[in-house]
Structure formats: structure tokens, C-alpha cells
């Protein structure tokens, strides 16, 4: 659990109460929270933490590669702490729930050079959409 904090400190991160709390929130629950949800949970532990700090910290965690940003809809970005295992996402079209999935195969290899239009392709993101068991039965 504190290995995340260790890694961050090792990279010259100045350790503050706010950053610790944000890291703990992400590290604790392996669900995909929005920035506001992170903020809400952070406030529960450290009432005076500000929205801007949560946004800043999330942004830093993303640049450091410790957390992934997921944009599945136009509502809000979500943050995925499971950044060290490559994976994709399965999203419920109705309620927005997200699950990590690990498909076989490598979609990057499926894009032939003739379809790259001179782009330097570095990453691929796969989003499966459907209905979760709850929403499907409703």
C-alpha cells in the first residue's frame, strides 16, 4: 500500500498531507473514480483540501504514469489506479459502470502501416460497450 508513496517520494515528490490523501484514495479502492469522487473521499479524510489540489495531484499522477485517465463519455474523466497492468475497459452504456478487462490479442498489431497515415502510433485504447447485468435485467 505505501509502495506508491515510496515510489513517489523516490521521484522527488514533495510529500504533503493533501497528496498523501489523494494517493491513498486511489490506492484504496480499485474502482474508477471521477475527479469529484476523489475529491469527496479526500475531503472525508482532510476537510480543507481544495478541488484545485485534487485536480493538480491527479494530473501529476497521470504524468508520472501511476494512474490512467479514462474518458469513456463526455461526462467526466475517470482515474484508474491499475496503471501497471495493461488492460482495457468494459463500460455499461446505461449506468456508466466500468470494469477492467484483459482481452487476448494485440490490437496495435491489427493496424497495418497503410492505415497509419504517417501517424506515429504509440497507444491503443479499447472500450467495450454493453449493458451490465443490473441494467440488462431492468
Amino acid at each position: 500500500m505505501s509502495d506508491l508513496l515510496e515510489r513517489l517520494r523516490g521521484r522527488g515528490w514533495r510529500m504533503t498531507a493533501q497528496r498523501r490523501v489523494v494517493a491513498e484514495v486511489l490506492n484504496g479502492e480499485h474502482v474508477h473514480l471521477t475527479a469529484d469522487e476523489v475529491h469527496a473521499r479526500a475531503v472525508a479524510k482532510l476537510p480543507e483540501i481544495s478541488r484545485a489540489t485534487v485536480y493538480n495531484t491527479l494530473g501529476e499522477l497521470v504524468s508520472l504514469g501511476e494512474v490512467l485517465e479514462v474518458t469513456t463519455d463526455k461526462r467526466a474523466k475517470r482515474y484508474d489506479p491499475n496503471a501497471h497492468r495493461p488492460h482495457h475497459h468494459l463500460v455499461c452504456a446505461r449506468c456508466g459502470a466500468i470494469r477492467d478487462v484483459h482481452p487476448s490479442g494485440n490490437p496495435l498489431a491489427d493496424l497495418p502501416d497503410s492505415e497509419r497515415f504517417g501517424f506515429t502510433v504509440s497507444d491503443v485504447e479499447v472500450t467495450y460497450r454493453g449493458l451490465c447485468p443490473n441494467c440488462a435485467s431492468a
Copy 2:
């Protein structure tokens, strides 16, 4: 070109000047416009058209399956008139440019049942990310 309008009329769409203009804008350029860009082009043809109407009309076209909504980043939804041929997207991480691509393989088949968690998976969306030739050389 007017087959889109025909299809829409056939589905009981009430044909108004505003809707015609929006449909024409989408039908005309096969690029991926944001709602605001659609609005700007619509205003050029029909100065008094309102933002809300453009949003409403785009939303209807999406529900009717005539246009695809693409959410590649947090900036703005984009609308893809190429809804009848399955394809995926290649996005420039810097400038946001989008190209349609047609990879080989079927990613839906790459998701084993054990990774579906009871979801009814109906669709898969693949987004390749990288730098376009312009941004790569800058």
C-alpha cells in the same frame, strides 16, 4: 446526397430549414466536426439557427443511427457521419485530429466470456493514439 434527407423524412422526421441545414453540413464534409463547428457552418447557411437546435438535431441523428458520436478526449464530442461502415479512429494526441481507420481482425472476438462479467457486450470502440505527421515534426 439527399438520400439522408429522404431516409429521415421516411422516418417521420418533420423537415425544417434548421434540420436540413444540419444534415447538409454533416453530409457534406466527411470530417469529424464538433458540435460547435457544425453550428458555425450551419450559421453560415442559416444565420439565425441557435446552438440548442444544433445540439438537439445532432442528438436525434445519433439516436436514429445516422451519425456516430465520438468521445476521444475531454474537449468536445465529435460527430462522424460515416455511421454505416464500421471503422475505428486514429487520434492525434496533440492537436486532436481524427482519421477513420479499418484495422484487420475483430476485437469483439478477443474478449472471452470469462472477461465479460455478465455484461451483454454489443459494441467495441478502438481508438489508436499517436502524433500526426504535423505534430510529430514540430
